[in-house]
Structure formats: structure tokens, C-alpha cells
């Protein structure tokens, strides 16, 4: 297999088969944790780790696992890696554990991971599956960060607050003030309705981008304008 097709597997998850915006998988964590951009990074990295590991293991075991009981087997593998992530996050980034709450163990039932296991890892080799996991994970993380950024900037006026808990060197109360404090933030964006709204707008934007690639610059404007 040529290097070109390997690259294609990797970049497939970024936009064309973006797990959240195009395949509409894993919507629950997408909506729930994106009230802040830094939570999106944390959730994205945790899910990427689980995706790569479970894709590797499932693709390595694809000839051993009997077809009839494959779903329970996949779920057990995934749940194992989720427990690993849960313990790591609890031990090293306790603030992130608090911010993500119940959504961290819920990575088990995130359809992206089971979906990729069923659609890709059960049919392809170990290296390709790892690349697919990485690509999908990056696509998921990028989407979460974009969505978190829009919601945080409009809803709280800051950007990347809470990043200090992920990178201790930045200090605990690191935040970039985007909208001056004198302007009241549009708090509905950080609560539940804002999540649904931004998700809908972003999904429309992705549909537009993939259906007419020549006018991509214009679409970016439309996404921004729709939120303002």
C-alpha cells in the first residue's frame, strides 16, 4: 500500500468523514463538554487515546473474535481502555476529571469508537487501523475545540480558560480575554440551548464546505456570521 493512501486514511477523519459533523457519531460528549475550549481538548485527547488503542487491539484480534459475539468483545476492549484513561486523568489532571465528570466513563458508549471498530478496524490491518483511529481522533478533537471556542468566546468572553489544569506551566487561572469584560457575555451560549444551536450551525457549515469546496472561504464567514 502506498504512502499516499495511508495519508488519505489519516486525513479522512478531518473533514470528509469528520466523525461528528459528517458521520454524526458521538454527539453527546460533543454537546456536553464544549462549554469551554479547554474541556474540548481534554475530551478529544482522551477519546483519541481510546480510539487508537481499541482500533489496534480490535484489528489485531479481528480473526480470533467470532462474528456472533463481536460487539460484546469490542465493548469489553473499549471499556478496558476507558478505565485506563479514567485512572490516568484522575491521578494526573484531577481538575479535568471534575470538568468532564460522568462524560469520561461515558466514552465507552461513544458511538465513534464502536463505530470505527465495526466499520474500519474489523476489516483492516493494524497500522491502517491505528492511523484511522488517529485521524478520527484528531477530527473529533478539532471539532470539539472549534465548538468550544465559539461557545466560550460568545458565552463567557474568554478563550482557553482552564487550560492551566492541562498544562501546569501556564498557571491555574490562565485565560485569554477576547471580549472585554465591560460587554455582558451572551451566557445562553454556554448552557444547553447554545450547544444545540452552535452544533447545528457547524454541521450546516461542514455540509456546505464538503459540497462546494471552491467557496470555502465564504463558508467560514457564514459560520461566524450565523453566531454573531
Amino acid at each position: 500500500m502506498s504512502n499516499n493512501s495511508k495519508l488519505k486514511i489519516l486525513t479522512n477523519g478531518f473533514l470528509n468523514e469528520n466523525p461528528v459533523l459528517r458521520l454524526v457519531l458521538g454527539t453527546c460528549p460533543t454537546l456536553a463538554v464544549t462549554s469551554m475550549a479547554s474541556n474540548g481538548i481534554g475530551m478529544g485527547l482522551a477519546a483519541t487515546f481510546v480510539l487508537i488503542c481499541s482500533n489496534i487491539v480490535i484489528s489485531a484480534l479481528r480473526k480470533i473474535i467470532p462474528d456472533q459475539v463481536r460487539i460484546p468483545c469490542y465493548i469489553t476492549v473499549i471499556a478496558g481502555f476507558v478505565s485506563v484513561v479514567q485512572m490516568l486523568v484522575k491521578a494526573y489532571v484531577p481538575d479535568l476529571d471534575k470538568a468532564l465528570g460522568v462524560y469520561l466513563p461515558l466514552i465507552v458508549v461513544n458511538c465513534i469508537i464502536l463505530g470505527r471498530a465495526e466499520m474500519f478496524a474489523s476489516k483492516n490491518g493494524v497500522v491502517d487501523s491505528a492511523l484511522d483511529g488517529l485521524g478520527m481522533g484528531i477530527g473529533f478533537t478539532i471539532t470539539l475545540v472549534i465548538m468550544g471556542s465559539i461557545r466560550e468566546i460568545f458565552g463567557a468572553g474568554t478563550w482557553m480558560s482552564g487550560l492551566g489544569s492541562l498544562i501546569p506551566a501556564l498557571g491555574a487561572d490562565f485565560a485569554i480575554q477576547v471580549i472585554p469584560e465591560s460587554i455582558d457575555p451572551f451566557t445562553i451560549m454556554t448552557s444547553a440551548p447554545g450547544g444545540f444551536f452552535v452544533f447545528g450551525i457547524l454541521m450546516a457549515g461542514a455540509t456546505w464546505l464538503t459540497s462546494r469546496p471552491k467557496k470555502s472561504a465564504k463558508t467560514e464567514e457564514a459560520v461566524e456570521g450565523g453566531n454573531a
Binding site: 465493548i75 447545528g200 450551525i201 454541521m203
Partner: protein, 207 residues
């Protein structure tokens, strides 16, 4: 009496204020996938409620007495870290058992719920409610009531939204908004209306 008030307040909080779909973002996949028709929305929600209560009744005692009993706290006997793995397996087994049981003994109910049962294993509301019950420190009865409330809340959200959706599908929308994007925007409005219930339960039950 005090107990009854507490249980009632948990029940109504789960339906109106902490609605799993519209306020906590759990179970969005079936919410978007199955809410197109009213009867399938009701069927799915009833199946979810049923499994939710059963799963809570099974996982609460297993966690409290087997995985992490009070006397084992802080020792190596404390197996609390196995929570995720054990719960998801319990739910998967339970769903399978339920499917076989209904098929054999209650064929009418099986026909009504049958298609939705296998989907429920990966519905995050089920795993979510079992974990949140333990996080909140509810006792057994409170957990069961909370699970039932969460299920009814899911039903309410699904039924309301299937009505909204029927209107939205007839509307003329820009091409890139067709299908899911406009549905999500409609969900935002539905969720906005549920925010109006904030504080209502506290005010009624004075808790």
C-alpha cells in the same frame, strides 16, 4: 412523609429541570434518530425507561455490596475502578436477557419494543444514570425513582420533539441546513423552553 417529598422532588427534577436529553446532553443519538415518528419515539422511550430501572436495580447492589463495600474503602479490596467495565457488561447482558424473556413470555411487548432493545446497550442515558446515581450518593429507593424519572423525562422530550420535528420538516430551509442541522437548531429552541422550568421543583417542594 419527608422521604416521600424527597422522592417526589428527585422524580420531578429529573423530568423537568435536569432532563437528560435537553439539559444534560445524554442520549442525543436516539433523540435525533428515532424522534421522526410519534409511535417509534414512544416505543423507544418506554424501552429505555424499562431498561434504565432494571439496570439501576442491578448495578446499585452490585456496586455497593460487591465492588466497593463500605468496609473495603481505601483498601486493595476496593474494586471501584472496575465500575465502567462491570456496568457496561451488566447492561449488555440485561438487554439480551430482556429481549429473550420478552420474546418468549410477552410477545406483544416484544413486538412493540423489539427493534429498539439492541440499540439501548449503547444508549448513554442508561450507563449515565447508573453512574450518576452512585456519584450523587442516592440510596436504593432514591436510585430507582431517579432512574424512572430520567426515563419519563426522556419520554417527555422525545414526544415533544417529535411534534416540533414534524413542523420543521415541512419548512423551507437553506440547502446546507436541510436534515439534521435545522433539527438541531429546533432542538436548541426546545431546550430553551425547558430552561424555563429551572427552580420550579425547589419552589414546589421547598427543598
Amino acid at each position: 412523609m419527608e422521604m416521600a417529598v424527597k422522592l417526589a422532588s428527585i422524580f420531578f427534577t429529573m423530568i423537568l429541570v435536569d432532563n437528560y436529553v435537553l439539559a444534560k446532553f445524554l442520549g442525543i443519538c436516539p433523540f435525533l434518530g428515532v424522534s421522526k415518528k410519534l409511535d417509534s419515539a414512544v416505543g423507544m422511550s418506554l424501552a429505555v425507561t424499562f431498561v434504565m430501572v432494571m439496570a439501576t436495580a442491578a448495578t446499585w447492589p452490585i456496586y455497593t455490596f460487591v465492588l466497593s463495600p463500605a468496609e473495603a474503602a481505601g483498601t486493595s479490596r476496593d474494586l471501584g475502578y472496575l465500575q465502567t467495565i462491570v456496568f457496561i457488561l451488566i447492561i449488555a447482558i440485561l438487554v439480551q436477557l430482556l429481549e429473550n424473556f420478552l420474546k418468549k413470555f410477552v410477545p406483544a411487548l416484544y413486538k412493540a419494543l423489539g427493534v429498539y432493545l439492541p440499540l439501548i446497550t449503547t444508549n448513554c442515558t442508561i450507563l449515565g444514570v447508573t453512574i450518576l446515581n452512585l456519584d450523587n450518593g442516592y440510596n436504593f429507593v432514591e436510585s430507582i425513582v431517579c432512574a424512572a424519572g430520567a426515563g419519563i423525562g426522556f419520554l417527555v422530550a422525545m414526544v415533544l420533539f417529535s411534534g416540533v420535528r414534524r413542523r420543521v420538516e415541512q419548512a423551507v430551509t437553506p440547502k446546507c441546513f436541510e436534515g439534521l442541522p435545522i433539527t438541531l437548531v429546533a432542538a436548541a429552541v426546545t431546550s430553551l423552553s425547558f430552561m424555563g422550568f429551572g427552580g420550579i421543583v425547589d419552589a414546589i417542594f421547598k427543598v
